[in-house]
Symmetry: C2
Subunit: 337 residues, 2 copies
């Protein structure tokens, strides 16, 4: 099949051209023995607890420094499984292509899916492709649904969080959202930034070895670190978080670009950063586990769980002040994932 | 949350308004004990073989006679599991909303999802909502990924098909695609048609009781009956299908509207029709099993597997002629599911 052409409505018709797209473009890149023989559904076996998660990626532009919608579609969904204490195993992929989308771009995205899936040791086992008329889509949208197997019986939950626990972050924040924004708007101030898009499973597996000392972890995507920190204590009537602003790793470029754009780095989406809450006695070990891995080499403690402001996240500023870090309000950056 | 308003980009930001949408609109309709506590992933246990399938629904318009995108999103995906010999158990739901989409329409769609899920005995256990800027979407797109448990060890496959087998259809064809077309284009000629959108699991479970005498079944959606019949023998070097045109149940309104519009009813999408291939000795029993159920009351045999035209579907016409029924070519009806 020519990859110099463009997607037409007929590619989504369920007829001859649909079959051609599947057999000549998608299968050569993604098909494995696990991929159903043009079947409606495919099957697998996982003994014990199975985790499932779904995410649709609508990132604009679909290609950006550090990744593309295919990288994001694999790592993003696998990360959602990993932070729950699950080993990602399988993905399904649902594409919505806009009429006129370049076939060569689709091929490039699928090749990214393949590479990211190989790196994450997951297999794409089922897919679906729809085509919408020009002007009724955004180029390419990708849903991935991920299936994983539980790493063990310990269930991670915000309900495990206790006063005295420590709050850790795995690495520097803000580069994903700003890289997307710079690519979309042609902003020179953040042009050197690359998305941090990366698999978090190795970090999660390492932390999971702490057993019950690991209370909760979450990747800081939409809504950034601010959203995750708030989620951790949103329904907690006994504890809040005290976060030291100076401890949060913000790269110089991110700080400068955020300042100029009036954005708060804590609210910017990341795709390769997790926040974890661990027992106080386990904090040092957790940090050294994270630092032993490449994506966690700048891991550090950023705060603690305390009883003073139940349900709230308090940011202790550089000059010793305190303010509430709320859930992001207003619109920061649309279509960053 | 007001349901008189419209979806804004901020509803997809991951911040306060995202949470409000989830907690005040989605959860009251869909949340069950199984729905993760705002978690990234949720879990279940299914011993043995697990089936999974994914489909994105982009139907235009989202509301049509006989159903809406919510009904379709549940029944369509559950049907894909059912025809593989699986009992649908869980669904994930990924929404892509276009800025400006009416909140009341979203509520109506979610209520349809709930009703269809209750009727199908499946639970929506995980979800994701993205918002794209006005002009970059199609109102509402819905991905559902379905998980089911194997009804038994017998694997259905086109590879089971043998010469002499009989081909059955569960009911009349063509009403779904034409109902969508009529609703979209305001065509009076098909205005009385309703989508046949319905759960096929009861039919599939009944046929599965035939054991190995049931070779293969498939719901005739995109590409219609023509696509399924071709799929059944596409890679078969020994057998083809001989289908009796007069045996195919085409309602009068469908026949008349198709004639006027220049469409072939065999190529029009259905959402409540399956085609099954069974052993010759099991055909009568299969038909009576199907007819004992409401959606199968017009089930009948439409042809047989034979050795004369390997890999082809031959249509025996009313006047005794024979022609090849090919995969649909060209664009029939975009966005019918």
């Amino acid at each position: 099949m020519s990859t110099s052409g463009r997607i037409t409505l007929e590619h989504g018709s369920g007829g001859a051209l649909s079959r051609q797209l599947t057999e000549q473009l998608i299968y050569p890149i993604l098909k494995s023995e696990a991929y159903g023989e043009l079947a409606d559904a495919t099957s697998f076996e996982i003994p014990g607890r199975v985790y499932i998660t779904t995410d649709t990626y609508v990132v604009d532009p679909p290609f950006f420094p550090g990744g593309d919608i295919g990288t994001l579609g694999v790592f993003g969904t696998c990360n959602d499984l990993a932070v729950c204490g699950a080993r990602p195993r399988y993905l399904t992929m649902g594409l919505v292509l806009e009429e006129g989308f370049p076939t060569s771009d689709l091929k490039r995205v699928l090749e990214s899916v393949r590479r990211a899936a190989d790196r994450s040791r997951v297999r794409v086992i089922s897919g679906d492709t729809k085509v919408v008329p020009s002007g009724k889509g955004g180029g390419i949208f990708m849903n991935t649904t991920g299936v994983g197997e539980a790493l063990g019986p310990h269930l991670l939950s915000v309900k495990n969080i206790k006063s005295g626990d420590k709050v850790l972050i795995s690495g520097p924040i803000g580069s994903h959202g700003l890289a997307i924004l710079a690519a979309r708007e042609g902003l020179k101030i953040a042009a050197s930034l690359r998305s941090d898009c990366a698999p978090l499973f190795p970090l999660c597996e390492a932390l999971y070895s702490l057993g019950k000392d690991l209370r909760f972890m979450r990747d800081a995507t939409r809504g950034g670190a601010a959203a995750v920190l708030n989620e951790a204590v949103a329904n907690n009537s006994e504890c809040g978080l005290e976060i030291l602003e100076t401890a949060i790793p913000v790269p110089g470029t991110v700080a400068a670009a955020s300042d100029l754009l009036g954005l708060n780095p804590m609210e910017i989406a990341n795709e390769g950063v997790l926040i974890a809450v661990v027992a106080p006695t386990a904090a040092d070990k957790a940090i050294s586990l994270l630092r032993s891995l490449d994506t966690g080499r700048e891991a550090r403690q950023i705060g603690a769980v305390a009883g003073r402001y139940p349900g709230k996240v308090i940011l202790e500023t550089a000059v010793g002040g305190r303010r509430i870090l709320d859930l992001p309000r207003g619109l920061l950056l649309p279509r960053i994932c």
